[in-house]
Symmetry: C2
């Protein structure tokens, strides 16, 4: 490296160091500081590397994170709720490999294909990391000639996006998908997907939410009715999709000035996309002079009407809104589409990371009907109609973590019920014998891995890890054939015979 380049890096290190110091002095969020520190370390590594003394960069890959035990405990709780709901609705589960043949993903994601992670060509097949769970699901159905299944799949997916980790956006993140494949009567499986969204978001207690629904056929029919030329449907649709982040004025401006739509067509669209309602709106639009002329729009509107009649039976209409501005991006949707948004972050008075993020944390689940995707994989093009929903679970984790932070209750990261402790020296053997008995009885128990731990440090370990009970052995207890059981919270101590001890531990730690 030329000296000049090296000097430039040293300058950059100095500047970056100041950024970090400033953030720290301003008490910025941990994520923000970590991100800037990572940049600093990378710069330092660059310098080190060319010096010959390569400095090791101790970090995870950009846009990814480790989960620590506390985060895992919260994650487990969320997954339990989600899986319990999927199972209640009779779903099976499958798993697919983390990478697919590159060509399996080709042509499924439109412009977003540039975000796919490819594996290096090390001889053999060309592979890519999965971008979602829907395309592997469709590949699985076609490959195994499955024509109906109700399945869930919880796994990580990968997108080379610009991560905003403070907003809960990562390059590696979990998706929880529920899908129903099969030729069924209209809107029954679709309604069950919305029922599931309603159940899960209610049970997780994330705060109030809305589920917006629309239909691709209504969107296309609306564009036709408003005089949008056929070849502009998709690009105008992607502009409409920005309405949750941009004002109507800006959206209209993009349509007219960037995409060359007539002002008259844009205004007609503007009228429609401001409409929200329920079954009544669908009925009204079926009478609308423009829309009622369009066959596609009518079949979409009839289905939305039918959908709402099922949603009433499922008792979920309180949260579902028919919203003509909803226009989800993915190419493969063919009918109903939906998206669940949190209307408040579920945090007392405050949104997730200040007001500017209140929008981006909004969407927590989305999905729709994709009747053509499986056919893209079938050698004979046989179609398998599908409808499904995907939960953006990382955002839900982030909210749950913040709730846990602000709660008085400590999150436990183990489930240990009892620590087997000793009050005097030279009792390791007795501790190991007793803990063996407890494990045999199915009790979650620990000993400290020291020959002669101090009683105080054993009790401290219980306080720190939230272990509720201590079984204490001392010379007197051994002589008497008993074990002293101490309740950590109250410091109450009672002697029990070995036989009674197990029963007593079970009694005191059984879930109320």
């Amino acid at each position: 490296m030329e000296n000049e380049a090296q000097i430039q890096i040293q300058e950059a290190i100095k500047t970056q160091g100041e950024v970090v110091r400033k953030l720290k002095s301003e008490k910025a969020s941990k994520e923000q500081i970590d991100e800037e520190v990572a940049k600093l370390l990378e710069l330092k590594a660059k310098l080190g590397g060319d010096d010959g003394k390569h400095q090791f960069v101790l970090k995870t890959a950009k846009g990814t994170r480790d989960y620590n035990p506390k985060q895992m405990a919260i994650r487990e709780k969320v997954f339990n709720t989600v899986v319990a709901c999927f199972k209640r609705h009779g779903a099976e589960t499958i798993d697919t490999p983390v990478f697919e043949l590159k060509e399996t993903l080709t042509g499924k994601y439109g412009e977003d294909s540039k975000l796919i992670y490819d594996l290096k060509d090390q001889g053999g097949e060309l592979l890519s990391l999965r971008y979602d769970l829907t395309v592997p699901f469709a590949r699985y159905l076609a490959m195994n000639k499955i024509t109906n299944i109700k399945r869930y799949h919880i796994a990580k997916v990968y997108r080379r996006d610009n991560p905003s980790m403070t907003r809960g956006r990562y390059r590696e993140f979990y998706q929880c998908d529920f899908d129903i494949a099969g030729q069924y009567d209209a809107m029954i499986p679709d309604a069950e997907c919305l029922k599931i969204v309603h159940e899960i978001l209610s049970e997780l207690e994330l705060g109030d939410f809305r589920i917006k629904v629309n239909d691709r056929r209504i969107l296309d029919g609306m564009f036709a009715a408003c005089g949008v030329p056929d070849d502009k449907f998709r690009t105008i649709c992607s502009t409409v999709d920005k309405l949750d982040k941009m004002s109507w004025e800006d959206v209209k401006n993009e349509m007219v000035n960037e995409k060359g739509l007539s002002e008259q067509a844009a205004d007609l669209i503007g009228e429609f996309v401001s409409m929200q309602g329920g079954r009544d709106l669908a009925e009204r639009l079926l009478q609308n002079p423009r829309l009622s002329q369009n066959k596609l729009a009518c079949s979409g509107l009839s289905d939305v009407k039918l959908l709402f009649s099922y949603l009433e039976l499922f008792q979920v209409t309180d949260k579902v809104v028919f919203d003509l501005s909803l226009a989800r991006g993915l190419d493969y949707y063919t009918g109903l589409i939906y998206e669940a948004v949190l209307t408040q972050a579920g945090l007392s008075g405050d949104t997730l990371n200040g007001a500017e993020d209140s929008v981006s944390v909004g969407s927590v689940a989305g999905g729709g009907r994709y009747d053509g995707l499986v056919g893209m994989f079938d050698p004979k093009g046989r179609k398998v109609p599908c409808v499904g929903v995907s939960f953006g679970i990382e955002r839900i984790f982030t909210i749950m973590e913040q709730k846990a932070e602000s709660s008085a209750d400590k999150v436990r990261t183990t489930e240990v019920q009892v620590l087997v402790a000793s009050a005097q020296k030279n009792l390791l053997e007795e501790r190991l014998k007793l803990v063996t008995d407890l494990w045999k009885a199915g009790i979650k128990a620990e000993v400290m891995y020291k020959k002669n731990p101090k009683l105080l440090s054993q009790l401290q370990h219980c306080e720190e890890s939230g272990i509720p009970l201590v079984a204490i052995l001392g010379e007197q207890e051994l002589k008497d054939g008993v074990v002293k059981l101490r309740v950590v919270a109250t410091r109450e101590e009672v002697d029990f015979s070995r036989a009674d001890l197990i029963r007593e531990i079970r009694r005191r730690t059984s879930e109320a």
Copy 2:
């Protein structure tokens, strides 16, 4: 492509087609046929691709597989057993990203580094898929300056190995790791790792097993005592490691003729590596005139002796063998090493895939002490002593699947307790209302997604999916305000009021 190349491929397709036909006529195993069919499809795709009519290859990447719902049900059962044991022993859990910075993995796996999957350089960092869970764990500890933790981690790892899928060897496979990090008294955490192996293999009922233990220090001391030159320790050690697959004659031959060891040294090694025993063997070897001269060997032997005293308290010495021929490959081990092998596959009379595989299915868990690995990541080289065990869970899945195949009990892939059915037409609304009530009560319930399904097809669905109960609605039942509950197995039918129905379903489906 030249015509000649094309003709060659066509020839290859013909030959491969015959291979497949022959296997089918011989009723070869499904895996074997699938593997050969995959090759055939690849050849056909090659031809198609160059024709201009590209034929899509509908397959998963080489060495990987989907899990279908039945396999997932078995996998869930195995994971539940494993996780319950880890939790009983007080472990927390963490998760790390599926890929790491390439340099994090560099220099950790010796020769096997060539098996690491790299990601394509798409601008940004150079990344590789994780090869095991141990190196990411060490990176995590160093990065977060954690000096003691007991954690488990269940996740997929990736090796560009030559897969033998019929033997349960894949390029993507699960590992279940349990590790204890921290500065503790000798052999206490090590003994708990062996206790855990004993518990899990016993609970899974895979058949009889042995846990072989040895120590890196004993191996090194033994090599020194037998006159192996220092610079040949590692290569001789890797030859010893082959003793489970090769006869002593072949191993000796490799040592002497390929690796240039003296015949005398080889014979001395031969004596040692034939030794097996327990605590008594460790005591005897401490008196051995050659070994007792070697400090390393002595500290290893004393620790093995101490280990056995703890294993006796843990009541696991029935399965643990001190075996001087055990020499696990990984570079990072520094003390105790161990490996669990099934001594019979747990299948009545038969081994997994015929006699030739009875060896390769043997090893199902392995681990050891690695006190230096975390220090390789710490900028100041601070060490964190670690010991752990990793379960090769794919092989366990394969055995459990075969057990399920040969068992009379059908594996259920859903947990549905009741199907809400109708006996007449036009009762979809009533079915949806009732299933909503059941879901609300936490009951796992389904309806068929048809407006007017036949009662027979509803009952057939129950038979196929193992659903034990059917709640049947008919006009008479609606008039009477009752629901007919039918037990699928006995065809018994009783009417219940709505209020009693839920109680009755719970009673009949509660785990005994």
